[in-house]
Amino acid sequence: MAVNMEIRRFLQLLISCYNGPAMESFGSYLHRLRKSRGLTLKQVEAQAKVSNAYISQIERGLRNPPHPDILKRLAKAYDVEHRELLIAAGYLEEDSVVAERRALEKAFEHVQSDPTFKHGTRLKGTHVSLDTKRFIVEMYEKLTNRPLLKRA
């Protein structure tokens, strides 16, 4: 059983290498989304009424993306648009707005996880909008000289 899983993981790794580093699997996208919302598998299970074991398997790439109806419930739990999950799962074609937003969220998480870049923001309230995330990413790019966002 364990050997089987290892082989599967290895094959997935090979596939992801073949697809190129820019492609992110649905499982790792879902995992990243859940972590960014600070949710545990149990919390998602309670909110979306989807088994935590099933979500865990999807995140690890052991299951295919779920049915659109399940994605609708997950979208609610993760506070994202249903359309965004449908695109990530491959049910719909990705449009440029969603692609840009996903790239920004990913870049912002990279900034947050870089221990060499220390930062702080004086915010009105607690909500961090996309504009704010873009500003922080741009400041990171400026100071570190590491481009994260593609520009037209």
Partner: protein, 203 residues
């Protein structure tokens, strides 16, 4: 620690943190008002400063200060990478709210350095945002309290008896009003931004 101390020549903020650590290491962490007093002394800031003067003061401490338009929910931002440090303050912030934001951002930078030195002031349960707000209020009160003796001396030198009383009265009234302004800055900002938002919605 040694690695950090070696690089302090290009890093005045880290030097300041090490000095604070040296003075208060025995009774760590120092009270917020003590830190604010020492910071104002080191920073050399007055109660009323122009944006240009703020820029010069920051530059002297190795920090680049810019005033730019920011997304609506940000008042200020600070970041550091290696020896580069930058503070961004929303350009629409009027004086002395901008000074409050500047002190807030400095407090966050100081905490990052104290953490790096292995001596954080704020514990795991504390909030850096809350502490930085308190620090900003205390710094502004400190700058004001440094100005008041000078004004009182000026009032003392007024020849005419009634004019002298009036001058004393004005110093006391304005001094008290300024101190209240320092304390109530966060609340006043909320009220102002809400009023601005409603005006925007209605037009």
């Amino acid at each position: 620690m040694n690695l950090l101390t070696d690089g302090t020549a290009n890093n005045p903020i880290l030097r300041f943190c090490l000095d604070v650590l040296e003075r208060h290491g025995e009774s760590w962490p120092p009270a917020e008002d003590v830190l604010a007093r020492e910071f104002v002394e080191w920073f050399g800031c007055r109660a009323f400063v122009s944006k240009e003067h703020m820029r010069e003061l920051c530059e002297a401490k190795g920090v680049k200060l810019t005033f730019v338009p920011l997304p609506s929910e940000i008042r200020g931002f600070n970041c550091s990478f290696g020896n580069q440090r930058e503070i961004v303050v929303c350009e629409t912030q009027i004086s002395p709210f901008d000074l409050h934001t500047l002190f807030h951002e400095f407090r966050e930078m100081l905490e990052h350095d104290f953490r790096e030195l292995g001596r954080p002031i704020i514990g795991p349960k504390g909030s850096l945002e809350v502490q930085a707000e308190q620090f900003a209020i205390l710094c502004r009160m400190e700058t004001a309290s440094r100005e008041i003796p000078g004004f009182l001396e000026m009032a003392q030198n007024v020849q005419n008896k009634w004019m002298r009383y009036l001058s004393f009265g004005l110093v006391i009234v304005f001094g008290t009003a300024y101190l209240f302004h320092c304390i109530l800055t966060p609340q006043m900002e909320e009220v102002l931004s809400e009023a601005r938002r409603q005006r925007y919605v209605s037009t």
